[in-house]
Symmetry: C2
Subunit: 208 residues, 2 copies
DNA sequence: CGGGAAATGGGTCACCCGGCCCATATGGGC
DNA sequence: GCCCATATGGGCCGGGTGACCCATTTCCCG
């Protein structure tokens, strides 16, 4: 669940995180009070909280939660003051809004797994984030080759004919069909359409 | 194209806007300099610019562009000073990051259509935004029949074979193929895979 | 009432797709 | 040095797919 008074940021972040196959945003709140209210009816595994919010701010909300749910603070300005305030309020991690989506997603996975990030030094943090880097794909999808992922992501963007795939990859049509056959088996599907749908579901439709 | 030094905001906004069927984010820049560089190789219809960025800020970037591309300023803090600075630099619209995604999307559509928002009073602004409220679906997609949408949404959920589609709809395989042919024509695609990808992009994969 | 759109269904046919066998080169790991 | 995974490619074949004709019925709208 996300709590941030900047709607554009919160809604954008929701879409971005939702597009990660293993993450789901279950709610967005505009201030600390709404966050607490929403959490009463909607359980969440991790919460992302902005510190500066009108009404009940992030700090107060975190204090009220008393660490019931692991919370990541996502703040505009990074300073020692805000960081220690977040730590004192029970946050398990602290990110600037200048962080990348990639790192935040990794942090969410780490926190959901029970890791506390806020006390780590930089090297340790990098290590933990790297460990939770890529989304946990389905067992089948996990064993996809790089080339297979490349073809799959093209499929998911509408490049569907054997001919065009072969031309864009500079390989023969036969090789494309071989890769596709391998993809079908690994994803347990039986044609390109199902493979494309599954690829999009897995978040493999990213741009190059 | 988006220019904002807060990666989380920019990437989140990218995903959110990309999920609008009629909008596409063609690039993200972290400062004014990168924005100008990117625009040299990648044309854009509208740019979203943050005012506060390290290095070359939004104001300077807008001055360099000299109004070549309609620009919406999306700023954290709203004040008379920033607003008039944005206006002076050639921005055609001004939004707080507390605005809703809905309104920003409407504003982008309006600006892309040539409307200047920044000089409007509140009532006029609401009127313009309302006029550009819902996404303009592809001319083809708009004219899809109910049955076609039904088939398309099944496609988008992985029901790809003519046989299964016919069985689930209690109609003959021939009718399914007829509907599909009609769908292909309206969506300007040539096979089920592209239709499924397009259906998902249009948000037609809803409803379990 | 009349026209048009939508849904249903038929036939034909070239061609592509997916399943099945196979081979070769190139790596990296044990 | 040997093995296995990966990427590349070939041939074959049955069946599915998409493009092009077509007809019928229903129903809504002007």
């Amino acid at each position: 669940m996300i709590a941030d008074d900047h709607q554009l940021f919160a809604e954008g972040l929701r879409d971005a995180l939702d597009s990660q196959p293993d993450l789901r945003v279950v709610g967005v709140a505009a201030d600390g009070g709404e966050l607490l209210t929403r959490l009463e009816t909607q359980p969440a595994d991790v919460i992302l909280v902005d510190l500066e919010m009108p009404g009940i701010g992030g700090i107060e909300a975190l204090r009220s939660l008393a660490g019931d749910i692991p919370a990541l603070v996502v703040s505009m300005h990074v300073s020692d003051d805000t960081l220690s305030a977040a730590r004192a309020a029970g946050a398990v991690g602290f990110f600037s809004k200048s962080a990348s989506l990639h790192r935040l997603a990794a942090a969410i996975r780490a926190v959901a797994a029970g890791v506390t990030l806020i006390d780590l030094d930089d090297d340790q943090l990098e290590e933990v984030l790297a460990a939770h880097d890529r989304p946990q794909l389905d067992p089948g999808a996990a064993s996809l080759t790089e080339r297979e992922i490349e073809i799959l992501s093209m499929l998911a963007r509408g490049v569907s004919s054997t001919e065009e795939l072969a031309e864009r990859l500079f390989i023969s049509q036969k090789t494309v069909k071989n890769h596709l056959a391998s993809i079908f088996q690994k994803l347990s599907v039986s044609d390109r359409t199902q493979a494309a749908v599954e690829a999009i579901r897995l978040g493999l439709a990213r741009r190059p």
